[in-house]
Amino acid sequence: MLDTDTFDLRKYLSRNPQSVAVWVTLAALILFGLLRYDNFGGAYNITSFLNYNSMFIIISVGMCFVIMTGGIDLSVGSVAAFTSVIAAYLSPYGIEVALPGAVLAGIGFGAINAVSVVVLRIPPFIATLATMLGAKGGALVISGAQTISVDWGSNFTKMGMEKALNVLPWSIVVVGVVVIVLWVVLEKTSLGRTVLAIGGGEDASTLMGLKVHRATAFVYLLSGGCAGLAGVILASGFGAGQPLEGIGWELSAIASVVVGGTLLTGGLGSVTATVAGALLLGLVFNILNFENGRGTISFSAYWQMVIRGGFLFAVILFQARVMAGREQRKEAT
C-alpha cells in the first residue's frame, strides 16, 4: 500500500533520477535478454549468474556503507582472496566453522583499516591500499601461492554449489539475508543515520554529538566482513581457496555503488540501488557472453576491462550532469 500523502511518485522520480534509471535499465536488459536468447531465462543461467554475482553484491553493499561516509575501501578484493584461503583450510570442519572463521578474518582486516582511518587519521584510500597489499601478500604466504582445495566431504561446498529448497542458490540466500539486515541498519537505526550524516559533513556530525568514530569504524569492519563472506562463497563455489583472485573486485564494487547512485562524496546512498547496480553490471557481462556465444560480436576477455571502464565513465558523466543541474536549481532559488 502506498500512502499517497507521503509518497509522491513524481517527487521521488525527480529526487532519485539515477536509482530509477538503474531499475528501468535493469528491467529493460532482462527483457531484452529474455526475448533475444533462448537460454537466458533458463535455470542454469540464472543459477550461475546469481552464484557468481552474489559475491559482487555483498562486497558492493559493504563498499556502499564505506562510500556513504565519504571513505573508500580498496582492500576488498585481496581480503576476499585471503579469506577464501582461510575458508578452504577450515572447510573440513563444515560450513558452520568455515563461514564464521573466514568472516572473522575479513573483519580482522576491516579492523586494521578502521584503526588506520579512525585512530591514526590516515586517509582511507591510502590505509586500505596498504591493507590491499598486506592481504594479498598474506594470502600468498599462508597458501604458499597455491590454490587450496576444499574438503569435498564436508557440507562446505553446499553454499556455493547447491540450492536452498531446490529453488535459489544458498549463496544468494545468505547474501540476501545479510543485505536485508544491512538495509534495516541503514534505514531504521541511529547507526545508519550517523553513517549518512558523516558523509554529509564529518565535523558537523561530531559537533552534533553523533558517535562519528564508532560509525566510521563500523563501516570498515562491515566492509571487511562482507569481503570475508565473498571469500567463503568464492572458495565454496569454485572448490578451492584462491589467493590470486580478487584483482579488480574493488573496482567492480565501486562501479556498482556509483551506478546505484550513491554519491562518491558521501552523504547519500541506498542499499537497494547498490544491489541493482551490481546486478546491472553483472547483467551487462552476461549479455555480452551470450552475444559472444551467438557470434554477433567477438570480444576477447580484454574488452571486459575496457567496457567496465566505459560503463563507469558513462555513469560518472550522468552523475556530473545531475549534480550540475541540482546546483543550478539551488542557485536559482
Binding site: I122, V258, W303, I316
Partner: protein, 331 residues
C-alpha cells in the same frame, strides 16, 4: 643525493633534538639506515653493478613519482599511471614493427616515441577534464583509465607479449652516459626542469596555490582548471615515458605487466619524499629520494632472499608509516 651527504647529515643529527629532526628528515634517515644495513648484510652491495641495476630500475619509479607529486600537490591523485605505462608501452612496438616503421627506421623510432607520449598526454587530458571541468573526485576520475587503459593496451596487442630487437629504441632503457644508465640522467634532467617550473613560473605557483586552497586560488582569478588539467597531462606524459623505458629495458612489451602496481610505488615515493596528500607541497627532488628508498627496500628484500609476497607486506607498512609521519607533522 650522494651517500656521503646522507651520512654527514646523519652524523650532525647527534647534536640536534631527535624528534623534530626525524620528522623533518625522515626520508634521508631512512635512506641512510637502508644503505648501512645493505653495506653490512647484503653480499656484493658496494659494487658498480649494484649501482647500475638500481639506477636503471629506479628511474621509471622516479619519473612517474615526479608527475604524481605534481598531481598530489594540487590535492589530487592519479591511479591511472600504471595503465598509461602499459598503453604507451604497447603502442611503441606496434609502430616501429609496422610496415611503415620497418621501411623508415628513423621516422619509425621517432613516431614510436612521439605517438605513445601523445597518447599518454591525451589520457592525462581526459583525467584532467574529468577532475577540473566535471568536478569528479580524482580517485574516481582516474579509476576509469586505471580499469580500461590496460584493457585497451591488451586489446591492441591481443594480450600477446611483443618481443623485438631494436637497438636504437632500446637505448631508452639500456643506453649509457658516462657509464651510468641513460634513463637515470633523463630522470635527473626532468627533475631539474620540473624544479624550475615549480619555483620560477606562475604555473608552479598556481599548482601549490590550488593545493593550499583551491577556492581562494579560483576567487583570485587563477586559471585553476587549466593548471589542474596541466598537471594531469604532465603526469600522463611522464607515465607514458616511463612505460617506453620499461619496454626498452626488456626489449619486450607485456601489456599485462608493464606498470602493474606502479601507482602504489609512485604514490609511496611521492609521500615518502614529503608530498602532502592534502596538497600544497611539491618536493620534486623528494620524489626522487622517495623513489630511491622504495627501490632500495625492494632490492634489499630481493637480494636477501625474502619472498615477493612478504615484500608486498613490507611495502604496505612503509606506505602507512610514511603517511602517518606526514599526518603527525601537519598536526
Amino acid at each position: 643525493m650522494t651517500t656521503q651527504d646522507t651520512e654527514l647529515k646523519a652524523q650532525q643529527s647527534a647534536t640536534f633534538a631527535w624528534g623534530p629532526f626525524l620528522r623533518k628528515n625522515g626520508g634521508l634517515v631512512a635512506l641512510a639506515v637502508i644503505l648501512v644495513f645493505n653495506i653490512i648484510v647484503t653480499p656484493n652491495f658496494l659494487q658498480m653493478q649494484t649501482l647500475f641495476v638500481n639506477i636503471s630500475q629506479v628511474a621509471t619509479i622516479a619519473i612517474v613519482a615526479m608527475g604524481m607529486t605534481l598531481v598530489i600537490a594540487t590535492g589530487g591523485i592519479d591511479l591511472s599511471v600504471g595503465a598509461i605505462m602499459a598503453l604507451a608501452g604497447a603502442l611503441a612496438p606496434l609502430i616501429f614493427l609496422s610496415e611503415f616503421g620497418q621501411a623508415n627506421p628513423a621516422l619509425g623510432i621517432a613516431a614510436a616515441i612521439a605517438v605513445p607520449i601523445v597518447a599518454a598526454l591525451a589520457c592525462g587530458l581526459f583525467n584532467g577534464i574529468l577532475v577540473a571541468n566535471l568536478k569528479v573526485q580524482p580517485i574516481i576520475a582516474t579509476l576509469i583509465l586505471f580499469i580500461s587503459g590496460r584493457g585497451i593496451a591488451q586489446v591492441l596487442t591481443n594480450g600477446n607479449l611483443q618481443t623485438f630487437s631494436n637497438p636504437s629504441f632500446s637505448y631508452l632503457g639500456t643506453g649509457k652516459v658516462l657509464g651510468l644508465p641513460f634513463q637515470g640522467w633523463l630522470a635527473l634532467l626532468i627533475a631539474c626542469v620540473l624544479y624550475l617550473v615549480m619555483t620560477r613560473t606562475t604555473f608552479g605557483r598556481y599548482v601549490l596555490a590550488i593545493g593550499g586552497n583551491e577556492r581562494a586560488a579560483e576567487l583570485s582569478g587563477g586559471p585553476v582548471k587549466r593548471v589542474k588539467i596541466g598537471v594531469y597531462m604532465i603526469c600522463g606524459a611522464l607515465s607514458g615515458l616511463a612505460g617506453l623505458i620499461v619496454v626498452a629495458i626488456n626489449s619486450a612489451s607485456d601489456a599485462a605487466r608493464n606498470g602493474n602496481l606502479m601507482e602504489l610505488d609512485a604514490i609511496a615515493a611521492a609521500v615518502v619524499g614529503g608530498a602532502l596528500l592534502q596538497g600544497g607541497r611539491a618536493p620534486i627532488f623528494g620524489a626522487i629520494l622517495g623513489a630511491v628508498i622504495i627501490q632500495l627496500v625492494k632490492y634489499t628484500l630481493l637480494a636477501n632472499g625474502v619472498e615477493d609476497e612478504v615484500a608486498l607486506i613490507a611495502k604496505a607498512i612503509i606506505i602507512l608509516a610514511a603517511v602517518y609521519v606526514q599526518q603527525a607533522r601537519k598536526e
